[in-house]
């Protein structure tokens, strides 16, 4: 069995140097989008950013959710959660409905708005590199060890260990532990995560479960609805027939 891979980002170790940003650009052949990497934002040409919140640095990128909303909503299955955990996208399947962008709780997928053959763009956890047994470009470039690549179960243990051993320097939670069912990217930091621009109102339940509750009712609707309509049809038809016969009888009586 292949173990799930992921990234632990420790904001307290991050120096905000931007090496991950540069490595990601290079790995994905993305053009320069901003002279100052700290002022850049996610776009079709930028899959990760480093953000400065009063000298507390954090990264933003696809979280590679355990149960991704994008995978569940795509009508043609252009998104896939791979065995190693990376969430990848096939532009040949895509019809361009952008439901993935609408559904993503972390607000990650970006669109090539200017092209007339547009694709969704986002971090794909360098999954081709991972298959070769390497790490992600960003983790390999990180000089401080703030971006750690590894097996998710080990990364989670490491995260809790750091929080336990230095309770004063960490906010005692992992972002990505159980938000929308957890994710392969995990973040720990010295401040609450909403102070770093992460969504603070995410449910613990995986988002696809919300739609599953509605979709599960379809067979019932078809079965019950079909029976109801058929029943009503024959019932009302018979009723009309009886009414007609009675009318005929009445007429005959008056004759």
């Amino acid at each position: 069995m292949i173990r799930q891979k992921g990234i632990l980002f420790d904001s307290t170790v991050c120096a905000g140097c931007g090496e991950c940003y540069n490595a990601c650009k290079k790995q994905n052949n993305n053009p320069e989008t901003n002279k100052d990497y700290l002022k850049d934002h996610l776009s079709a040409d930028t899959f990760t950013v480093v953000e400065d919140y009063n000298n507390v640095y954090t990264r933003k990128m696809c979280m590679h959710c355990a149960k991704p909303a994008c995978v569940s909503v795509c009508p043609v299955g252009a998104f896939k959660k791979t065995e190693i955990g990376a969430v990848i996208y096939d532009s040949d399947k895509c019809i361009g409905c952008r439901y993935c962008m609408q559904a993503c709780p972390h607000h990650i997928p970006r669109y090539e708005w200017k092209k007339n053959n547009p694709r969704i763009k986002k971090c794909i956890m360098c999954y081709e590199k991972i298959f070769r047994g390497e790490g992600t470009a960003c983790s390999e470039a990180c000089p401080t060890g703030a971006t750690l690549f590894g097996n998710t179960d080990e990364l989670k243990k490491e995260a809790w260990k750091r929080i336990r051993e230095n309770p004063d320097s960490y906010y005692p939670e992992i972002f990505g532990d159980d938000e929308v069912g957890g994710s392969n990217i995990m973040v720990i930091a010295s401040v609450p995560f909403d102070k770093l621009g992460f969504a603070s109102n995410l449910p613990k339940e995986p988002l696809p479960d919300y739609t599953a509750k509605a979709l599960d009712k379809i067979p019932g609707v078809i079965g019950f609805g079909g029976a109801f309509l058929t029943g009503m049809y024959f019932l009302t038809k018979r009723k009309n027939q009886i009414a007609r016969e009675e009318k005929v009888l009445e007429k005959e009586q008056y004759k």
Binding site: C74, K93, P118, T211
Partner: protein, 389 residues
């Protein structure tokens, strides 16, 4: 008098032509320069007017097709039959133009057929896509007796007639599924939507309101076509179906009230939020006013008032769909989306072409005839297709 009507006609013709000309230019921009140039959509706001209005409202407003079929052919209430054909035609054209609008909105419209072979049954959008495909086919079959009657293809009609009831049942089931599923599309974004609109019951709200607005559209259309084409539909029929709309409005309001109380959302009814006024506007225009008017016999049994009521219901419905798809998201995205000139002009062009198609079809096909085909005794004024006035 004759000169007056001529002037009136050419005025609307000129307006339509201008709308189509501007819309064509926007279409050119959309095709050549892409979604970014043609729309005000961006990464923060990926769905705009074309989804919120053209799709959500378009499909909802076409609901009259399945509701009237249920009344006349499943519940066998024969007196409503004069309403059936115009409603089916409206629904059929509605769906065709919804699909055309979708082609504008999709980033890769040439891949639209992928949903047929690339399946993802976990996706609400996938379910909607299949239902819309199948139901448009069903609507074509439901409409086809009118074509067969026009060209006197009685043999094909007698074959089709045997399957018409199961086809209509299928249509009702498909409509039930996708009318509600348009609401289910939004179930996956509880954290992004304004709690005034987000609810696990969204599919139910969408379904009930679609039934209500479906009958409102029939009343609306009956009034206009009576003026334009002299096809008077009996007032008591329209009054009767307005009662259905009345029930759906009350039902939706009651469920919404209980829903808000039970899920502890009462505080949002007074807390200032970007959508608060829109919420009340929607409730007042779309529910309170029509409910008050419909509960009074004086208004319910007056042609003009029924028309006004139907306009309220329709506007309330449009507000609801636009609020769910646009207003409810502005708080989260911190971006106030307003459609671009191209989005608006393409939408208007689609509406104008749709109305033109409707007019052309009712001039050439026995849409308003009450008789279903009976042997060879159909009489048509002219054998030629009428292409213009």
């Amino acid at each position: 008098m004759k000169i007056l009507t001529l002037h009136k006609l050419s005025f609307w013709k000129i307006v339509s032509l201008i709308i189509i000309a501007v819309g064509s230019y926007s279409t050119y921009i959309r095709i050549v320069y892409g979604l970014g140039a043609a729309t005000n959509l961006n990464d923060a706001f990926p769905w705009g007017l074309w989804i919120g209005f053209d799709i959500l409202c378009g499909v909802g407003l076409a609901a009259g097709g399945f509701t009237i079929c249920a009344v006349t052919h499943i519940f066998n209430i024969g007196k409503f039959k004069p309403l059936t054909r115009p409603a089916i035609l409206t629904a059929f054209l509605g769906y065709v133009f919804v699909i055309i609008a979708l082609l504008f909105d999709l980033g890769k419209p040439y891949n639209i057929w992928h949903a047929i072979i690339m399946w993802n049954p976990h996706s609400v959008m996938f379910e909607v896509a299949w239902c819309v495909m199948l139901y448009t086919t069903v609507l074509f079959l439901e409409f086809s007796p009118i074509i067969l009657e026009r060209f006197r293809l009685n043999k094909i009609y007698s074959v089709l007639r045997r399957f018409l009831i199961p086809i209509m049942m299928l249509g009702i089931l498909l409509s039930t599924l996708h009318q509600s599923s348009l609401g289910s599309l939004y179930l996956i974004i509880p954290e992004k939507m304004n709690p005034l609109w987000y609810s696990a019951l969204l599919p139910l709200y969408f379904y009930i309101s679609a039934i209500g607005v479906g009958f409102a559209i029939i009343i609306f259309e009956a009034y206009l076509s009576a003026r334009a084409f002299n096809h008077n539909i009996k007032l008591n029929l329209l009054s009767s179906i307005s009662k259905v709309t009345f029930v759906t409005l009350i039902l939706n309001l009651l469920i919404k009230a209980f829903d808000i109380i039970i899920s502890g959302k009462v505080k949002y009814l007074i807390a200032p939020s970007s959508g608060l006024y829109m919420f009340y506007l929607e409730i007042v225009i779309g529910t309170i006013i029509p409910v008050i008017l419909l509960s009074n016999k004086k208004y319910r049994e007056n042609r003009m008032w029924l028309y006004i009521i139907s306009v309220f219901v329709i506007i309330g419905f449009l507000l609801n769909r636009l609020n769910v798809s646009i207003t409810s998201l502005t708080n989260f995205t911190q971006y106030s989306y307003f459609p671009s000139i191209h989005e608006i002009s393409i939408t208007m062009m689609i509406i104008v072409v749709g109305m033109w198609a409707f007019g052309l079809i009712i001039k050439n096909f026995p849409v308003f005839s009450e008789n279903e085909i009976q042997g060879n005794d159909i009489q048509l004024d002219s054998e030629k297709l009428i292409l213009s006035k």
